[in-house]
Point group: C2
Chain length 94, copies 2
DNA sequence: TTAACATATGTTCAACTGTTCATATGTTCA
DNA sequence: TGAACATATGAACAGTTGAACATATGTTAA
């Protein structure tokens, strides 16, 4: 069980960064390429790319290429569930 | 929305540490005092105390005093839901 | 092939984080 | 009151992290 808990912490660590949460949240609305994401988040391309790689490694997003662009999207709807549950917790706190 | 997402990241950050996840997981089983938690996690009292403080500040646990001991417990069952959902995600990945 | 574009990657650095050690606070009981 | 116990807190240190910059890779179209 210890190992699973460590793995669980790793998962939450990925959600535990505002840039990555913003990326995931933005992708709830559908796939987007790196440039679009950088614009939407007002951050430079490199930072976005680095964070997308972490999300990809964690299997939270998937990618497809279309010409010069790479289109990222959520890899399954667990991501949405987790974000929503977290939001529930936050909203109940008032 | 940006602010909420930042707050959400803060919440997940708290779950994103193996010591804290272990503490929360251990508390699923009911309230425990600091010494018990330190023993169960094989960690020193100070480290446990520091992490409990973070959990407390985030309103994930609550405390009551009983004599010399401080008994910690989960503050609501959202914590359990979030842990379970995270586990679901991990277990489906095979 | 070459220029222009889109994205990825390597490196560096400042900021943050978790643990440990030492010590302070608070409680009980003799 | 004072000793023993339980927990909290402060400081210090090593390890980690995210962003920025520079540059590499890969794709398209001329």
């Amino acid at each position: 069980m210890e190992d699973r808990l460590i793995e669980l912490a790793e998962l939450f660590k990925v959600f535990g960064d505002s840039t990555r949460i913003k990326l995931l949240y933005t992708l709830l609305d559908g796939e987007k390429n790196v440039g679009e994401l950088a614009t939407l988040l007002s951050m430079n391309q490199s930072a976005i790319s680095h964070q997308l790689r972490i999300l990809k490694t964690s299997d939270l997003v998937k990618v497809r290429r279309d010409g010069k662009s790479m289109y990222y999207s959520l890899s399954d709807d667990h991501v949405e569930s987790i974000i929503k549950l977290g939001m529930d917790h936050i909203c109940e706190e008032d």
